[in-house]
């Protein structure tokens, strides 16, 4: 697939000396859902803000659909829709007016039919004549998404789309993101909810302290860094871990009724079969086995941790 966004050597340092982004290189493919993951203050919003034009880069270049974001900002910005993290709305405007306004602002001729479609897709049509200040927080967020979609962008940035959003809206948001992807819209979302990236993303980028630590297919990332936990449910509880099992560094759980073994799925020898064999040799009977994939959260925590240790 062709890249729609190319970021190279992107750096942002502030007058205070704070470096928000350190030489970031990244390519986003057209049509994918890319999740930018990182703790607060990692540089996620800074990166989005530079691409969209809200923050000036210190050095480096970004092109969106082949348009340089500085020299050809009209070209790049008209392909982008941005939904910022915070709810910035014109309280006294009506929903339909503010969404129509956004379309015009991005240089598109009026198209009431399309605006109606966007509002219907976001369940805002019934509220179209309400003033924004009359809406709930979740509804306001929908309005901001409608504004971002009003000019038919090819790329949509969702900065923390589900921060402070109720469960229902989060489900709706995920559904919407998938629908948009089916329409060919490239989506870049930032989040610190790992489940969100896990749920939606095709690829995941992890950013910490302004550095892009890694970019990986979500599945590959899970596989590569994913650890699995093997739980062996014993027939008879054990009082202590037998010394023969020291090599596997197993732990006794659940008052000695379970043995827990953490193994790396990418290792040549996972140690699972040898562990089970050893258990058999020791005459330890078990009645159930269970393996569990570690979540993206565990992966993320360990990555940020490694970074700190390095």
């Amino acid at each position: 697939m062709a890249s729609i966004i190319k970021i190279s050597g992107l750096t942002k340092s502030y007058a205070s000396g704070h470096v928000a982004l350190k030489h970031v290189d990244l390519e986003i493919e057209e049509g994918e859902i890319f999740a930018l993951l990182g703790p607060n203050g990692a540089g996620k919003t800074t990166m989005i803000s530079i691409i969209c034009g809200n923050v000036n880069p210190t050095s480096g270049t970004v092109t969106v659909a082949g348009h340089d974001i500085v020299r050809d900002y009209r070209g790049s910005r008209s392909t982008i829709g941005l939904v910022p993290q915070e709810l910035f709305t014109d309280a006294f405007e009506r929903v339909i007016d503010t969404v129509t306004f956004s379309r015009g602002l991005f240089g598109k001729p009026r198209n009431p039919a399309f605006i109606e479609k966007v509002l219907r897709d976001l369940s805002l049509w019934d509220k179209r004549n309400s003033k924004i200040l009359e809406l709930s927080g979740g509804m306001k967020r929908r309005v901001m998404i409608a504004k971002a979609l009003s000019h038919e962008p090819r790329v949509l940035f969702l900065d923390e789309p589900t921060a402070g959003v109720d469960v229902e809206l989060r489900r709706d948001m995920w559904l919407l993101v998938r629908q948009l992807r089916e329409m060919g819209v490239t989506i870049i979302l930032t989040t610190h909810y790992i489940e969100e990236a896990e749920e939606m993303a095709d690829r995941v980028g992890v950013i910490n302290k302004g550095e892009l630590i890694l970019v990986e297919e979500k599945a590959a990332l899970m596989k590569k860094l994913g650890k699995k936990t093997l739980t062996v449910v014993l027939a008879e509880p054990l009082a202590a871990v037998p010394p023969e099992l020291a090599d596997w560094e197993v732990a006794l759980k659940n008052e000695g009724q379970e043995i827990e073994y953490i193994f790396n799925t990418q290792a040549e020898r996972t140690g699972v079969s040898s562990l089970l064999r050893t258990l058999g040799e020791l005459g330890i009977a078990y009645k159930d086995l269970n393996t569990e994939q570690s979540s993206l959260e565990d992966i993320f925590v360990s990555l940020v941790h490694q970074e700190k240790a390095a």
Binding site: Y14, N54, Y73, L82, F88, D97, G104, L105, F106, G107
Partner: protein, 256 residues
């Protein structure tokens, strides 16, 4: 894309006019009431005891000054509010991320604010007709002058709006600088009535040139030559455009 983003200019322009429409009653009633009060107090109560100034009845003499006073403050308030509010509420993110150039932004915001301030100026002019007989010597020049004043003061207000970081800063210049300068700049008197050294000192007040120029379009004469007035407006326009250009290039108080 080439050329101006006309859709964007239209969108912002009508968004701003819509904002004014929401406060239409106060927006239009206030100038009418204020003007009437000025005429009752200055024109009626005081003016009847005053002699003519340069052969012009006092009540008629103050009309250009009154229009200017309102247009200065209206222009600055409208234009500065127009750009300050998105900064304050955060909605400026959308403007900054839109394919809109500095020129388009200025045309739209300043154009809308100038439209309103011009409307207010014309309403005051119409209200004044209810109180005094005015014969405008050069109506075309009068309108042109009002347009120029509206644009230059809206540009100035736009700069203030970008510069301001609080509502207080937003108000400090129009209330503490422009208003006193207008009162001392001959809005209600001719500077020829002043004794030295005040007369010479007053010539350092730029507002004198604006009010005098506008009065010239009414009566064919002012405190200073019309060429100085035009020169001053041209200078103000250029300086304001220069500052705004710099603000947009560097992203001063707009972008981080």
């Amino acid at each position: 894309m080439s050329g101006l983003n006309l859709h964007a200019i239209k969108s912002i322009y009508f968004f701003e006019l819509n904002r004014f429409r929401r406060t239409l009653l106060t927006g239009l009633m206030v100038p009418v009431i204020t003007t009437s009060l000025y005429f009752v107090v200055f024109g009626g109560a005081i003016g009847s005891r005053m002699t003519e100034i340069d052969g012009i009845p006092y009540a008629a003499f103050i009309v250009p000054g009154l229009i200017m006073l309102s247009m200065f403050t209206e222009s600055i308030f409208n234009a500065s509010f127009g750009i300050y509010m998105p900064k304050f509420t955060g909605t400026i993110y959308e403007l900054l991320s839109a394919p809109v150039s500095a020129t388009e932004t200025i045309i739209a915001y300043v154009g809308a604010a100038a439209t309103k301030s011009l409307t207010v100026g014309l309403i005051i002019f119409a209200t004044a007709h209810l109180f005094v007989d005015i014969h405008v010597a050069n109506p075309f020049a009068m309108i042109a002058f009002m347009v120029l004043i509206a644009i230059s003061f809206c540009l100035f207000g736009f700069i203030l709006g970008i510069w301001a970081q609080s509502f207080e800063q937003l108000q400090v210049i129009p209330l503490l600088v422009i208003m006193p300068m207008t009162f001392l700049g001959g809005a209600f008197y001719s500077i020829h009535m002043l004794a030295e050294p005040w007369r010479t000192i007053t010539l350092f007040n730029p507002i004198v040139y604006l009010i005098s120029g506008f009065r010239w379009t009414f009566f064919g004469r002012g405190d200073v030559g019309i060429e100085f007035s035009l020169l001053f407006i041209a200078g103000m326009l250029l300086v304001c455009l220069g500052i705004i250009g710099w603000m947009f290039r560097t992203g001063y108080r707009l972008k981080k």
